[in-house]
Subunit: 226 residues, 2 copies
DNA sequence: CGCGTCTTTGAGAAACATCAACAGCGGTGG
DNA sequence: CCACCGCTGTTGATGTTTCTCAAAGACGCG
């Protein structure tokens, strides 16, 4: 008796409890505030803490030798960011909107002693991240641009979509170039996919950063079609 | 000692020590042997242990609704397989060659108490895996088929390539379809990339499963060109 | 040796990238 | 408050790449 992964992985916000210091007082002291465009860390920085997003949206990216930017992930509230690989940040991270984050100590103890709660938390967060990345890999494995864009929208719709009397809304704080970099496409192709969905009646685009999903099921069909 | 690792991620075999039960006796009891084609686990299985590959090559894959197979990773000796997501296997895993694996207990304790060594090990393995997956994401973000195939060959070359007096050899126990599924391409496209490299003098193909790298630097250049 | 499977090759169609120009929007300064 | 300017996003036309469909060759296995 288990649920299909797709659905569960998409709503991961409150899944991982913070390390067992719940009684140690408010975490205000460890909060970080970022303005849009500010960097939280850079690739190669030494990593002693990780972050949980409280508010805002962040972008994790890597830059190849020739300057091509690959977007690894977007960080939404509830997400854990900055998991260290060999003790170092593995990506750049900057804020797409004003953001508030909670810093969590997360250095792996050299000895196996001590920090059991931390290690457990780290492991849980990392395993969660792996699941999300595998989902993303599956998305990138799909060859069609429309499928990738539709999949992207469906994920956002389920995670951060808001429904009111006018429809199901998604805000897109990232640029088309960011979306393209995330999906392995070009900005023009992403734009054309949006236009295609709009002309097909699947979505409306009140503005470039605001998507109204008119036919969620149809959009999901596009995303999951072979 | 010939290899120069661009990234430490490529030589991850001996990086993560087993949990702190080194004195608890030989691990023979926990070894698993698989024949080629046998499954180690399936997506959705409950996961109480993880595995470290001792010998052989395994394939981790997921199957979409419509039967399209996405290969998530290949498991080579030293790799950790089967990290649980929400306590369940997130992929299928089957052996491409006869394989020997060591089972490692790795259930995250519900309470934060106990299993500090296990949690630390799990966290280290998971973080390592994240780094590897981010590398792969960067590869998939590249648009060109030849770049992806070249990148794939370079990674294998550095991890499992063997040099003798006749050249630098790579065995490919996986099919072209597996490689295609891993890189988000079609088998024909993968085959054409191999042919292209062969005609360009970068590699030789004594058989479909045996690659001899003639110009490693040139191949790496193809892999990392924008 | 025959057979099925995997790989390679070919020709054609479709998709995406590229190059280029325009529109829309927000911000700035007059 | 409005005009201007720059940036992002959109649209169009063209070229390249890859996918698709098809068939022949190579290889391993019984």
């Amino acid at each position: 008796m288990y649920v299909t992964f797709d659905s569960d992985l998409l709503s991961r916000a409150p899944a991982i409890p913070l390390p067992g210091t719940a009684a140690s007082g408010p975490l205000r002291d460890h909060q970080v505030r970022l303005k849009a465009g500010q960097f939280l860390f850079h690739q190669g920085d030494e990593a002693r803490t990780i972050y949980r997003v409280s508010e805002g949206v962040l972008r994790l990216s890597r830059v190849t030798e020739r300057g091509h930017e690959q977007v690894i992930a977007f960080g939404y509230p509830g997400d854990i960011l900055g998991l260290p690989v060999r003790g170092l940040r593995n990506t750049d991270c900057d804020a797409l909107t004003p953001a508030v984050l909670t810093a969590i100590p997360a250095h792996l103890p050299e000895t196996s002693s001590g920090g059991a709660a931390e290690a457990t938390f780290l492991a849980a967060a990392a395993l969660w991240e792996i699941g999300a990345m595998q989902e993303h890999l599956t998305t990138l494995g799909r060859t069609s641009a429309r499928e990738r864009v539709a999949s992207f929208l469906v994920v956002l719709m389920r995670r951060v979509g808001t429904r009111d009397d006018t429809g199901l809304h998604i805000e897109l704080p990232m640029s088309r170039a960011d979306i393209a970099g995330f999906l392995g496409l070009r900005t023009e192709t992403v734009s054309r996919a949006f236009t295609d969905f709009r002309q097909s009646g699947l979505i409306a685009l009140p503005s470039a950063q605001h998507v109204t999903v008119l036919k969620p099921e149809a959009l999901a069909d596009v995303a999951e079609s072979d």
